[in-house]
């Protein structure tokens, strides 16, 4: 590595959102010619760093330097003008426009009279895809492209902008191994050409293979910046998590009981196909797979939010009709959705109201909610969940992410379910709260509830699950018991490697 000159530098950056302190004194240097890893757990502040570099947020304190000059980026456009390109985790295309237009939006090549030179635009797009080794027709609209192809378009955008600071926020989350390899080749070539890359990924082996240096964040604070060669995997993980990984997950013995949830041949055409599995009482089953593999969609179909085209769902011996969540709840199914803010909570309502929302009948008489009863039920659950709050009457929005998640869990647990489906139970909550949520799930399983847990965090799946189901592109590709479920085995199945 010949690089020495920092193209971009963050110095002691702080950033808060309402009461949440997302970044507390983060410093980071990106050198020309390096691929720099940014590591940390979900909620560690990586995305905030990305947004600050991309000009979407401004730091509350501290500064951002470009080529050694303190700079204030007033928006994404200004960041782009400084040669910064951010490739977001979820690609954002204009579905109605052609691929070429997507690549060059805002910077189309012009001809006489400031008119767009479509021929040049098409030719240059084709060239870019050639150099990336991907055959995508520049003239087709982007609607319907796979996530991998959309990711490539994002990279083509950065190339078209001749960006010299390129941030890739989990670009491989939805890619197969082959597609990821293709991406790494491109990344290395960009760095060799003098660009600085900031690379975020949850797959540690990727970081080791691709990056020269690594910066680790934990709970919004900088832990360390080190040469990749000088840091081994265990040290890296420990600095990300802040303790040994085993401590994050409760050790538990389980004696699986009867079949609680039986899913057979579940199909929703074009989304997932022929998914069959069983979850027994007292068991935690992990459902793993890449973003877009159909995990959450399966959960939604099981719960009846989405209609299924074929297959059966049986809860505690009772078959469920398709598309009827009320019947599912009555049969003893509960689901904690992926996005708790959008789907799981009414943020402006009080904690107690949220907690009893799913079983208002139990706390009301003749259709009128009895406040005292409501408060009693909510208070009881708050105690059992270890909820930290000022008053039960406070709006849920005032709670931290971890405590919000506990309210969602509490809401469904109040229905005393036989089967609990949790989708990304610890996304975006801090490590301490994570431990508590894990303990809570383990406790539920110990009390005989069948738990189906969807998670993108491999360590969580491996640490919690008695069995791991792996999905790839809408199909179940592996079912691994605890002994077989290694990171390698799961990733292999999740990227379509087959059993």
């Amino acid at each position: 590595m010949t690089a020495t000159r920092p193209l971009l530098e963050l110095r002691d950056v702080h950033k808060s959102f309402d009461a949440v302190r997302a970044l507390r004194g983060v410093s980071l240097e990106l050198l020309a010619g390096e691929v720099h890893a940014l590591a940390g757990e979900n909620g560690a502040g990586k995305s905030t760093v990305v947004r600050i570099i991309g000009g979407e947020h401004r730091p509350d304190a501290g500064e951002l330097l470009l080529d050694g000059e303190p700079t204030r980026l007033r928006g994404p456009r200004e960041a782009q003008r400084h040669g910064i390109a951010v490739i977001h985790q979820e690609p954002s295309q204009f579905p109605d426009l052609t691929v070429a237009e997507n690549v060059f939006m805002g910077r189309q090549p012009l001809r006489a009279g400031r008119r767009i030179d479509r021929a040049a635009m098409r030719a240059r797009t084709a060239e870019l895809f050639d150099s990336l080794g991907v055959p995508i027709d520049p003239d087709r609209v982007t609607r319907g492209l796979s996530i991998a192809d959309q990711q490539i378009i994002e990279i083509a955008k950065a190339l078209a902008a001749e960006a010299r600071i390129i941030v890739m926020d989990e670009p491989t989350a939805a890619l197969s191994t082959v597609e990821a390899e293709r991406l790494f080749r491109v990344a290395r070539r960009l760095a060799d050409g003098g660009a600085a890359l900031l690379f975020i990924s949850h797959r540690l082996e990727e970081l080791a293979a691709l990056c020269q240096r690594v910066t680790v964040l934990r709970d919004g604070a900088l832990v360390t910046t080190a040469m990749m060669a000088d840091i081994d995997r265990e040290t890296l993980v420990r600095s990300m998590v802040g303790r040994d990984v085993e401590l994050l997950f409760p050790g538990r013995e389980h004696e699986p009981g009867e079949d609680a949830l039986v899913v057979e041949g579940l199909t929703r055409s074009g989304v997932f196909h022929d998914v069959s599995f069983t979850v027994r009482c007292g068991e935690v089953v992990g459902l793993a797979g890449l973003v877009g593999s159909g995990r959450s969609e399966v959960a939604r179909a099981v719960f009846g939010v989405d209609e299924r085209d074929a297959g059966t769902v049986t809860v505690a011996g009772r078959p469920l009709r398709t598309g009827d969540p009320r019947a599912a709840i009555a049969a003893g199914l509960a689901m904690v959705p992926e996005d708790r803010r959008e789907q799981g909570l009414v943020l402006d309502l009080s904690i107690e109201r949220n907690a009893t929302l799913a079983r208002l009948r139990a706390v009301s008489r003749l259709g009128v909610v009895r406040r005292a009863r409501e408060r009693a039920v909510a208070g009881e659950w708050a105690g059992r969940l270890g909820l930290r709050f000022r008053r039960l009457g406070d709006p849920v929005a005032t709670l931290s992410g971890g405590n919000q998640q506990k309210v969602v869990l509490g809401k469904w647990l109040a229905t005393e379910p036989a089967v609990l489906i949790v989708d990304e139970p610890t996304r975006g909550i801090d490590v301490g709260a994570k431990v508590e949520v894990h303990a809570l799930l383990a406790d539920l399983a110990a009390r005989g509830i069948a738990v189906l847990m969807i998670s993108s965090e491999l360590s969580e799946v491996l640490g919690m699950a008695d069995r791991v189901l792996v999905m790839h592109e809408g199909r179940l590709t592996a079912e691994l018991d605890r002994a077989e479920a290694t990171e390698e085995a799961v990733m292999h199945a999740a990227t379509g490697g087959g059993p």
């Binding site: 295309q93 204009f94 109605d96 426009l97 939006m105 805002g106 027709d137 003239d139 087709r140």
Partner: protein, 341 residues
């Protein structure tokens, strides 16, 4: 993949073709019922009737492709038409060009009010323009009552102005020529200039537009101003064509305009559609209106037929989208299957 792209584009071009076929069918049926429907005079009238509404539809399209809408167009049109009348009452010899420019300017100001509320104050366009629909109309009535002008008639306007509305060049009505010129400029601009493409981008995915560094607020504001200016022009032309103006000119026009835009294949949630389609939509709806009495359908069915055309158009869009989505899913499924083996 290239065949698919062609087919996708084919589906969009198909919309304009569909309208043309519907037009031919309506004109054909009306001509069988009354052969003079297709005479030179008949065609002249068809285009003349469609011109002002097509002009408004072009402006409305600029907004709808950005996921916005302007419901105040009828009121703005009434206001600018009334302005023309007032100018002639003031001085019958006011130069025509001055009246036209004043109308365009007033329309642009109204558009700027809408645009500022939408783009700067971030109030949804549906609400803003529903509000200004009443406000602008109120201003119109207040002005009429303050100046005690109930109606301005043809004899009070300059002959040059009236001939702008009723004249024609080589058999093509002036209004149609103006509408065609505006249409050509708008179609060319939307297709060939960055600002034009950015309007589509904003409507297609607002968040991505922001991330791509597109000045969305400025673009939407600009679209409101341009659309307002076109409505202003429309109001002046309305005055010149009909020669009678009162404060209620253009009442209810907004719904015809939006209907024309939607029938013309502009997606109501933004991102796709063309001004040519919208103008053809306007032509189709006004032609249906002219054809109904010829076909012996009572005039009071007109609105119902407009509504039916709208529903048919939206249902067709939905069906096409669903088929497209299904095909894309299938194709991806096939590629997956191919990749796995």
């Amino acid at each position: 993949m290239s065949t698919q792209a062609t087919r996708t584009r084919g589906a969009f071009a198909g919309r304009e073709l569909g309208i043309v076929i519907a037009l031919v069918a309506v004109v054909g049926a009306a001509t069988i019922a009354r052969p003079s429907f297709l005479s030179a005079q008949g065609l002249h009238d068809l285009f003349l009737n469609a011109s002002i509404i097509a002009l408004l539809a072009v402006g409305q399209t600029l907004l709808v492709i950005t996921r916005n809408i302007d419901l105040s167009v009828g009121s703005v049109m009434g206001l600018t038409a009334f302005l023309s009348g007032q100018m002639f009452l003031n001085d019958k010899d006011t130069p025509v060009i001055l009246v036209v420019l004043a109308g365009i300017a007033l329309g642009a100001v109204c558009g700027a009010v809408n645009g500022a509320l939408v783009a700067i104050a971030k109030v949804p366009a549906l609400v803003v323009t529903l509000g200004t629909l009443y406000v602008f109309r109120g201003v119109d009535y207040a002005w009429a009552s303050a100046t005690d002008v109930q109606q301005v008639n043809a004899y009070q306007m300059s002959p040059e102005f009236l001939s702008l509305g009723s004249g024609s060049v080589l058999g093509v009505p002036n209004l149609t020529l103006i509408a065609l010129a505006v249409l050509a400029v708008a179609a060319y601009g939307l297709h060939n200039y960055r600002a034009g493409r950015e309007l589509y981008a904003i409507g297609s995915n607002p968040d991505a537009a922001r991330l791509a560094g597109i000045p969305s607020g400025r673009r939407v504001f600009g679209a409101f101003v341009v659309s307002g200016a076109l409505v202003g022009l429309g109001g002046v032309l309305h005055a010149a064509y009909f020669g009678t103006i009162n404060a209620s000119v253009g009442t209810g026009e907004e719904l015809s305009v939006v209907a024309a835009v939607v029938v013309g294949g502009v997606a109501i949630f933004g991102g796709s559609g063309t001004v040519v389609g919208a103008a053809l939509g306007a032509l189709l709806l006004t032609t249906v209106t002219s054809a109904l009495p010829v076909l012996g359908v009572p005039a009071f069915w007109q609105r119902a037929v407009d509504g039916a055309a709208l529903l048919v158009a939206i249902s067709l869009d939905r069906a096409v989208m669903l088929r497209l989505a299904a095909r894309l899913r299938e194709e991806r499924g096939r590629r997956r299957a191919g990749g796995a083996t």
